[in-house]
Subunit: 248 residues, 4 copies
């Protein structure tokens, strides 16, 4: 039996890619698409089970309220969720106990796994550093993902009582050793011809472990979204971040 899927923001670039991915999947059926001028009732009319929302912070709360109230599960990539918004969503879900909502800042499975493995490996190695590499039009350095990864590493090490990575540097040209994020050094490369890449390096006596994620295409969110669509019915309530869906 297939899952009946709807897409919000279906005309947008991301929305179109998701529609295509749903259509290409044997176990999913695209039963309703809605864009800004369409009524949300298209979803209830079509008996939709799961709706994917990649829209805009201005409209996503209205969308979610409607979906939850009608018992339709939601997989959400729209940004702008702060604690207040998350609490509001939890409130709606309390009234619709079998409905599930997944809100994730990053649906690229490789990025999520990279962070997760980095967190798991962190306490077993003397040294840990992060190198992230992006196209030269990126405004922030380090990337949000690298910053978060370094923070997770630092936290895991602190919890396990692992000290700082050894570093005998006594003469440094300003900036050579990178940025310090909670004691973990992060280096940002900006290079024409790249898209979005991250390498987490761990080392101890005689061996190193490297976990690298390369993203070369904006469509790398699609497999993660489909994973959410397939699993959300089994996870009622609010889930933030794709990790729990990976069942690691």
């Amino acid at each position: 039996m297939t899952i009946r899927v709807g897409v919000l923001g279906a005309q947008g670039k991301v929305g179109q890619a998701i529609c295509a991915a749903v259509r290409a999947a044997d176990d999913l059926e695209l039963v309703a698409t809605v864009d800004k001028d369409d009524a949300l009732t298209a979803f209830t009319d079509a008996n939709t089970e799961v709706v994917v929302d990649f829209t805009h912070p201005d409209v996503v709360m209205g969308n979610l309220k409607f979906l939850v109230q009608h018992g339709i599960h939601a997989v959400v990539g729209t940004t702008g969720f702060d604690d207040g918004r998350l609490a509001e969503v939890r409130g709606w879900l309390a009234e619709s106990r079998e409905t599930g909502v997944l809100i994730a800042p990053n649906f690229a499975i490789g990025a999520v796994l990279c962070m997760r493995f980095a967190e798991q490996a962190a306490r077993f190695f003397e040294s840990a550093e992060v190198v992230e590499l992006h196209h030269p039009n990126k405004a922030d350095a380090p990337s949000g993902t690298a910053y978060r990864t370094a923070g997770l590493i630092a936290e895991a090490r602190a919890k396990a009582g692992v000290g700082r990575s050894p570093d005998a540097t006594s003469t440094e040209l300003d900036g050579a050793r990178g940025a310090d994020v909670d004691g973990v050094r992060v280096h940002s490369v900006r290079l024409a011809g790249l898209v979005a890449h991250q390498e987490v390096l761990f080392g101890t006596q005689g061996e190193t472990l490297t976990i690298r994620h390369d993203s070369i295409d904006r469509n790398s969110f699609a497999p993660g979204v489909l994973l959410g669509v397939r699993s959300i019915a089994a996870r009622p309530g609010l889930t933030v971040g794709l990790d729990p869906f990976l069942d690691l």
Copy 2:
């Protein structure tokens, strides 16, 4: 309080490295070392809590029997354990219920994590391949570790119902696509200047995840052995493989 540690095969190359590592650790105390002509009673005399055994298949069973009967935990890197030998060890342990024995074929934490992460990631990607790179004096291709890694990947994919990696190759120069291990392609590079390296590659639409382990030193077993020494008292009975000690 420190753990009282003994080392068997203490004069060997590996044994010496382990003695050095134990001496360098603040929470461990090296209280007895035994080599081929020494009596095992040195361990009981010294009130040893954990003994590390990197000796030889010919003597390891005698060593283990003595240790278990005296309630001394053992961390074993000696090879040659088949099902019969493991059953014998379990038998001894049944009579000494608080004693723990860890027998592991590979103590390099990075190698163990690389395999484990590969197994966890396997079902999320369309494609999976393994490239292992070693010094040119190696006799077997692929390496045992690569063979095992590919097998674990294949098993995880089969269990999750993931099909074979896509591959449109229709014209192949013999061997170009590597060896086929349960449907996972494995490539063996042999190059002067290398020691032991492995790269596991996963890919799906627009993104790839790479997990790489580099070992450049025979001492890369030391951190894994110390982890075993520190954790074995909390794990009575027989444990095969370092994985369970990583608490992932």
Copy 3:
């Protein structure tokens, strides 16, 4: 002073990308574009100095004859040039001694440099292998570029009297050691999420050198084409391959 540039096959995907690249360059001026139904005289009318031809084997010879006879330089990415065709082009050029024609199978500068550096480094290392990695829709393994690279390495080593790479493999799972191209092992990885990548590995006692080329975009020919456009006037006669234009 700017160079007056024309483009043949201007409506095609590649042609459009070249037009965009020419327009974006300060030192080049796009003065004429011609597609299949347009007259070649558009180039003479516009006083064109250099024409870029990414068209089809069926029409490229007619294009080139016209251009050479009118003293217009040509930069050609169209395929299908055998020895007979090259001789014919040389014949036309003999009558128009100041005109230059560049015909190249690969305009990606990184790919050309990767091959060139591989050739230069080949004789200094005991071991050499090639790993190429492509999307899983590729029909041939190894790639044409990897095959050519391995051949160049083998030739350079033979010329310098360097023997085969050492290899003690005595137990091999079929295909593990890759394909043998003139004594150089070549491994072909096929992975979803990749485009076109190549890694050349050299090793000797205690050190390795790796040269890697990553191409993630079909537009990677543009910088090489512009290099040809800028340099062709200084290189009358026929040049095959981009290498000589790199002045290494």
Copy 4:
């Protein structure tokens, strides 16, 4: 016919490795070894053609004067040569026109090729950055080799009129973008388990080129020293740096 080779500082760690390498080479014969208490006349007595000197700045000038005056070629890895010393050596060589002296700061062929290829590739790419990775006991960041490599890249780009690498970074955590060496960003990773590694990254539209050198062993100077020994007779006068011997 074999070349008759002598080694100075033969008892030192490096000297021993060189003696072993000479003995292992079919075309070389180790005819004399000299340590601090031995007379240099051992070389003339043994009819030595080439002497390798890895000694100490305090004694190397005396050694070289003796060798040049007796028409014995020298391959020198000893440090501490400033302009004054080089001028002095040139003075001696003016009196012994057929004698050759090679003085090189780095005999690892891979490191020399990495720098050379980086210099050659520099002007063809919009972007260039350097990442160097070393063991955590290193005192300086970036490494001397990385600093020199970045300088060579900057010089090659300036000469070709290539502007700065594009970089839209507007929000930077201090140090994230690395050190600025003449406009080329250099990042220094310090990690347990590493020895000495360097990666030069170049990028332009849709493609990147990476040149990586890994050194995992102090003996990586041996092949470069042997290359010098074999070639020095054909290069009378003073040569500084191994590059010219590579005939690229």
